[in-house]
């Protein structure tokens, strides 16, 4: 029976229709009738019914477990964060000092929140143009034979575990940036009013900028693969018409492809942003875990996830509760970003379906 099914292909149907019947017959014979002994219609039917109902409820309960997981996450975070919420209230959000060993401990989320937002912002600044560039290359410019290898290479970037990015950032990228890139930027912008402060300070292996660059590389595949997917929803006839009146590739992309897929691109970017906000191991390695806010992006900092990863295992009492409260903040933040991303992508799907 298996050999029948191996050749089965859901996209061509009339021929398989007949094969499907063959499979169905055998299924009935082997599963139910053999067990029922001599043919007994009532017995066979009730066996069918029982199996049906059981299977339905197994699948339905599994599906509902997804909702339970979400509920469990929210409840366990709120319960864990409650002592800290009671102790610090809303002041938690704008206190910069983080002194868990003081008595009583002083905890404030401003440093990690600042680090999370700044690293994600810089990462998106780098990853959006590059990711879109790769997507345009893959859909419009790339010769057919090169499309799969390059697409695959970019997607494999998404598969590398984040701790590997962290090690690589710490041992390879960090030293390179500290010895070459940062002195260069610091020299160029020295004395320029605002930029001078942003690029000031001693070069360092551990900095917000290094973490942001690693984040950019990590979210690149998400932006690229979603952009490629949404670019494919553009009706070819629109592009052909534009090429037909003499548009160059860039003009077709700018005036046809991007306007048509704008919602989808924004959705993809927000999805990548959601990833960047919550990324943990890679950032923990290279951000330096400093709760002080510095105006320079070459100074060490911390993010919410890095703070949790590096302090949680050795924490207790109010300190631990404060870390869980940080986690709750992160979850709420990513939840809204990701929900927004999905709504955008759903809108595009509806448009493509029409």
């Amino acid at each position: 029976m298996t050999c029948w099914v191996r050749g089965l292909n859901p996209t061509k149907s009339v021929y398989d229709f007949v094969q499907g019947i063959g499979v169905a017959e055998m299924a009935v014979q082997s599963d139910v009738i053999d067990e029922a002994g001599p043919y007994d219609r009532a017995k066979a039917l009730s066996a069918f019914k029982l199996g049906d109902v059981t299977f339905y409820w197994i699948t339905r309960l599994s599906a509902i477990s997804v909702l339970l997981i979400l509920g469990g996450i929210i409840i366990s975070l709120i319960v864990g964060a409650f002592p800290a919420m009671k102790e610090y209230g809303f002041a938690f959000l704008w206190t910069q000092r983080w002194a868990p060993s003081a008595d009583p401990p002083v905890l404030g989320a401003l440093g990690p929140m600042y680090g999370t937002l700044v690293t994600s912002f810089i990462a998106m600044l780098i990853a959006i143009p590059v990711g879109l560039g790769i997507a345009i290359f893959l859909t419009e410019l790339c010769p057919q034979w090169l499309r799969r290898p390059i697409g695959m290479a970019v997607e494999l970037l998404a598969g590398i575990p984040s701790i590997i990015y962290g090690m690589w950032g710490f041992f390879v990228l960090g030293p390179f940036l500290a010895n070459t890139f940062q002195p260069f930027m610091i020299r160029i912008f020295d004395g320029v009013p605002v930029l001078g402060a942003i690029f000031a300070g001693p070069p360092s292996y551990l900095s917000l900028f290094n973490a942001a660059l690693i984040l950019a590389i990590m979210v690149l595949p998400f932006i690229t693969s979603i952009s490629v997917d949404v670019f494919k929803t553009v009706p070819p006839v629109l592009k052909e018409a534009a090429y037909g009146v003499g548009c160059t590739t860039w003009e077709v992309v700018r005036s046809v492809v991007i306007p048509y897929t704008r919602v989808g691109i924004i959705g993809g970017v927000m999805l990548a942003l959601g990833r960047a906000l919550g990324e943990t191991m890679a950032v923990t390695f290279i951000i330096g875990n400093s709760f002080r806010i510095s105006s320079s992006i070459f100074a060490p900092g911390t993010t919410i996830s890095a703070a949790i990863a590096s302090e949680f295992a050795e924490s207790d009492g109010l300190h631990q509760s404060g870390l869980i409260l940080l986690g709750l903040l992160l979850f709420v933040l990513t939840f809204f970003v990701l929900a927004g991303a999905r709504l955008m992508l759903l809108r595009l799907e509806k448009k493509a379906g029409k």
């Binding site: 089965l8 069918f48 599994s62 599906a63 909702l67 290479a153 701790i163 690149l220 869980i324 992160l330």
Partner: protein, 281 residues
């Protein structure tokens, strides 16, 4: 040539160049990371790595056996719990609840869980399992991994089952096959390689996960098989060793990193080849 036309062409060439540059940029990172891993990790890739346990500080012999075994155990249990749940849930979404309100809610929530920060899942399991059980344990680590597996498998299962044409289901139903057998015998078989792809991708995703294990399974220096105690595992061991001052520990960390990356890439490539075979047919 008309000057306006020349300007448009120049602009086009510049943008094309930038796009090619972007693609080269992306591929370069992959190559750089893999080369660094190979360069640093290959020296420690020998038999000792697989048969000796992690050494105490300062020692210059030892391997990663306990960590490798621990990772295998936790990954298998995690996928073993998460994959069936995800598979059944995906089945409900694609087969029973296609026009259900519940389905669209679950799909939406699942898509969010799919990209939720893994450290949050660690915090969740810490609160839900580690605190009530009064201690870090391998089973807590496995459950954290299972929570990550479910959304991945659910998503691919639903997508793949939706690709199976309805004519097949209708034919089976017309013969009197009950709904559950239509799904198990017809839909699952037609979508089989797709379903396996989903499980492989989920395995690849959790094999290198570190953040959720940091405070659920913790890690230790010993070989242990007990599920109710802390268990050594590769990602956390790498995390601890690479930041240590001992050269031999660092070497082990690089070799472990190479091992994980090769495994994860192999799983990813395998899943993609399976998936591609399906669409090419």
């Amino acid at each position: 040539m008309n000057p306006i036309y020349a300007r448009r062409r120049r602009k086009d060439i510049v943008v094309r160049g930038l796009c090619i540059g972007a693609a080269a940029f992306g591929v370069t990172w992959l190559a750089l990371i893999l080369l660094t891993l190979l360069y640093n990790g290959i020296a420690g890739l020998n038999l000792e790595l697989f048969v000796a346990d992690t050494p105490p500080p300062g020692s210059t012999e030892g391997g990663l056996r306990n960590a490798i075994v621990g990772s295998l155990i936790m990954t298998i249990i995690g996928v073993g719990i998460g994959a069936p749940l995800g598979l059944f849930a995906g089945t409900y979404l694609a087969e029973y609840g296609r026009n259900d309100k519940l389905t669209s809610v679950i799909r939406f929530i699942n898509d969010i869980l799919l990209s939720a920060p893994s450290i949050i899942i660690g915090l969740f399991i810490y609160g839900a399992v580690v605190v009530p059980m009064r201690g870090f344990s391998a089973i807590a680590g496995s459950l954290a991994l299972a929570v990550i597996v479910i959304p991945v498998v659910l998503r691919t299962t639903e997508d793949m089952l939706l690709l199976v044409p309805n004519a097949l289901r209708e034919a089976a139903s017309a013969l009197g096959l009950p709904r559950s057998l239509v799904i198990k015998r017809i839909a699952y078989r037609a979508a089989r390689s797709g379903l396996i792809t989903g499980v492989l991708l989920a395995t690849a995703r959790v094999a290198g996960e570190t953040a959720p294990l940091l405070f659920t399974a913790l890690s230790n220096q010993f070989f242990s098989l007990g599920l109710n105690k802390t268990m050594a595992n590769l990602p956390v061991t790498i995390n601890n060793f690479v930041q240590s001052p001992y050269a031999y520990w660092k070497q082990l960390a690089w070799s472990g990193a190479l091992l994980i990356t090769l495994t994860v890439l192999a799983l990813n490539i395998g899943a993609r080849i399976l998936g591609a075979e399906r669409t090419a047919k």
